[in-house]
Homo-oligomer: 126 residues x 2
DNA sequence: CTATATTTACTACAGGTGTAGTATTGCTAC
DNA sequence: GTAGCAATACTACACCTGTAGTAAATATAG
């Protein structure tokens, strides 16, 4: 079968690795709240599978494995966003925004930030 | 294990059913491009599993099964959107918008629509 | 009515995914 | 240098998911 999109945990792991460049199993576990109560080998399995699927590579320092990302954050972001938007909102952010507004699912702050981002964009293209 | 989010196909099926109230296997297959070249029983399996997971129910008319949705479109939209945004964009639409703008991944039309939706909202709250 | 086609109900199977156990290897503190 | 702890490598297992085959029931055309 084909690998699905990234799961929440895989995403957290990637975020940690993008920030820290390379990490051991233990460090990864330490950095992610949701993994705190999981078995050490569970995290190991995640990491090994992500290597298998070419999201990561590993390198040994001494006898310890260090994992590091070999995929680009921006391209994954784009891929996940595109697939989400096209699946649910016919590919359109404005549809998403319309939904959030009409159902009151956006915070005041976020709405404000959204407006200011767009205003900013406006300026740039004057 | 836990059911993942809705797959693309499941989403299409739900959309068809929300529009048509109830449909047979054949009708579902006919209504979705991506299922055209799949075996009839593949669609049947999708539908039966969606019944098992309580997205749908079925009712017999004569000896034919008709499937219909028992979940609310809006609540699923909300659930999927929330989980996507929190997974990838820290729960914030403005982060998503910022990403799309900075990487030039939004069409002119969509951007225009987005602005007009926000302007509209502005008016409503005067 | 009977041969054919449709539909259902059930089964199957490979690969994904969350979760973790076990055996072995290697490090560390006496 | 050895007992114990930590890390690696490997294996396991149940449920998910895409895909579909098969047998039995039912409808349909002639």
């Amino acid at each position: 079968m084909k690998k699905q999109g990234l799961s929440g945990v895989e995403w957290s792991i990637l975020n940690s690795l993008w920030e820290n460049n390379e990490m051991t199993v233990k460090e990864v576990q330490g950095s992610i709240q949701d993994l705190q109560d999981k078995a050490y080998t569970t995290i190991q399995t995640y990491l090994e599978r992500m290597v298998k699927y070419k999201y990561l590579k590993k390198r040994k320092r001494g006898s310890i494995n260090f994992y590091y990302p070999v995929i680009d954050r921006e391209s994954i972001l784009k891929q996940e966003t595109t697939s989400f938007l096209s699946k649910i909102f016919n590919g359109s952010v404005s549809n998403l925004a319309a939904f959030l507004l009409s159902t009151d699912n956006i915070s005041k702050e976020d709405l404000k930030k959204l407006k200011s981002i767009l205003a900013e964009e406006e300026k740039k293209h004057e």
